[in-house]
């Protein structure tokens, strides 16, 4: 087995070799600009882009014309949120989202707040779900957009898209979903789920980095957006800029593979994830699985290890590439805002690891990862004053700490 073992597929995925093969000619002989209408170089590139558009549309149950290429999910989220806000300002100035969304949704929303828009930040319950009655009550006739992610990137909790979509449709507000983590993992259908806007990123589904798309509904209702990038009027005027043909071809092939293999791949991933989780919990019964145990991404688990600190744990399991639920590693020294939003105590929010499995994960890798984590947690507990206090029967919540 090669180490480090990569278990951070929710951060990014390697390109599938089939994706690479499909992309290669577009670096060389097939180099045309898809917007060149006067010669064969352009026509070939355009045909490849349109094929990819159809492949991505198929993953979403959308029409190819509803796909707008972007540089990734962050751009797609910005375009959806700011584009809707600017376009529909005369209709209303209210938007709704949740506390556990990705920064690429939260930050555009915060930006809009500085521009005179009002944003409702819905809380979530212990498993990461918003209360649909609370959502319904928050929607007013001034509400122009609800943005709720398909699957949470840290804990994997799935929002009930069809129910949220139906609610938004009934209330006459647009519904955007960031489906970056969900694509290829759970079935997406913009019709059945009443989705008006949907963001995707290629590199989370075995495509290349630097390319993504925004699905923009064309009818019932026709969604209009104010472009955030002005120029040559590409992508129906919604996103100017010469298309990243090579990347787009890769994203198309990545979407095709997801569509074709999801039925086999998802049960395999779920079995591996469950194996990992059970092997850890069997040895560390007080570890806590975060998120919704049922309505959850099949390839991800987020586990808190009480009495040990997340950053030191990750440092200890250096044979594993995993990420900390704690954002300490990004130098902010703050525990994850997602875990905090769930109402987790600090000692749990500071002590979590996200494992995300993928297409190339094997059973021996999963067993190795589980055992290494258990060993390291046990080693760090021997070093932990909190663990010692708990063994002595001390209630940590009653201790008077010197907060610094």
């Amino acid at each position: 087995m090669k180490t480090p073992v990569y278990l951070d597929y929710s951060a990014t995925t390697p390109c599938d070799p089939r994706v690479v093969q499909r992309m290669l000619p577009f670096f060389g002989e097939t180099f045309g600009n898809a917007a060149s209408r006067s010669h064969a170089f352009g026509w070939t590139a355009e045909a490849a882009v349109e094929e990819a558009r159809a492949q991505v549309a198929r993953l979403l149950g959308a029409h190819p014309k509803e796909i707008v290429w972007t540089s990734g999910s962050t751009e797609a989220n910005n375009l959806a949120i700011k584009g809707v806000a600017e376009m529909y300002r005369s209709k209303g100035n209210h938007l709704i989202t949740a506390a556990t969304e990705h920064k690429a949704v939260l930050d555009p929303m915060k930006h809009l707040e500085t521009q005179g828009f009002e944003v409702t930040w819905l809380p979530v319950d212990r498993q990461g779900h918003v209360d649909l009655d609370q959502l319904a009550a928050a929607i007013t006739d001034r509400t122009i957009l609800v943005s709720l992610m398909a699957a949470n990137n840290e804990i994997g909790t799935l929002h009930p898209l069809a129910e949220i979509g139906a609610l938004c449709k009934r209330k006459g507000t647009l519904f955007h979903t960031d489906a970056t983590q969900a694509a290829g993992k759970i079935p997406l259908d913009v019709e059945a789920q009443h989705i008006d806007l949907l963001s995707l990123s290629a590199h989370k589904m075995y495509g290349p980095k630097g390319v993504g798309c925004l699905y923009v509904r064309r009818k019932n209702p026709r969604v209009r957006l104010t472009a955030q990038m002005d120029g040559g009027g590409h992508e129906r005027g919604m996103r100017s800029g010469t298309l990243n043909v090579t990347g787009i071809v890769g994203m198309g092939e990545a979407a095709r593979i997801c569509c074709d293999e999801m039925a086999v791949e998802v049960p395999r991933l779920r079995a591996l994830r469950d194996r990992l989780e059970q092997r850890i919990l069997a040895q560390l019964p007080d570890a806590v699985v975060n998120g919704d145990p049922a309505a959850r991404l099949p390839h991800l688990c987020n586990i808190s290890f009480p009495y040990v600190e997340g950053e030191s744990l990750i440092m200890g399991v250096k044979e594993l590439a995993v990420s900390s639920g704690s954002a300490c590693t990004s130098a902010s020294l703050e525990p994850s805002y997602v875990l905090k939003s769930l109402g987790l105590g600090d000692e749990l929010a500071h002590s979590s690891i996200r494992f995300s499995l993928g297409r190339f994960t094997t059973e021996p890798e999963v067993d190795f990862a589980a055992d290494r984590v258990v060993q390291e947690v046990q080693r760090l507990r021997e070093m932990s004053p909190l663990w010692e206090m708990v063994q002595e029967g001390v209630d940590l919540s009653k201790v008077k700490w010197t907060v610094h």
């Binding site: 009495y307 040990v308 600190e309 950053e311 030191s312 440092m315 200890g316 704690s326 300490c328 590693t329 130098a331 020294l333 525990p335 105590g345 600090d346 000692e347 500071h350 021997e382 070093m383 932990s384 004053p385 909190l386 663990w387 010692e388 940590l396 700490w401 010197t402 907060v403 610094h404």
Partner: protein, 136 residues
Amino acid sequence: MAYSDKVLDHYQNPRNVGSLDKNDPNVGTGVVGAPECGDVMKLQIKVGDDGRIVDAKFKTYGCGSAIASSSLATEWLKGTSVDAAAQIKNTQIVEELSLPPVKIHCSVLAEDAIKAAIEDWRQKRAARTAETGARS
């Protein structure tokens, strides 16, 4: 984040992990930090009759730099006098471990833990002296 070799060494081979009997009159215990801040250090010293620290132990909940800072502190404490120990500054720990700016608080915590342990020992000693004085 890249850790210095010394931090890695202390993290992987921490010196003096463990506990001394906190009820021993010659043992001073300092517990600083809070779980919500992501680090808690417990540092203990055992002081001989000559005012020298004969043993030091630690347990730390925290990042690798916090573990390394407390491990280093126990190394420095052993064999030194209580008065010299009280002079240890966090900046010396920062320098020895090449801690980056975001990890300076780990060294501050270690300094606080040393001072808290010494204070605990001094209070115990003062209480004992008062007791002996009252009896004679």
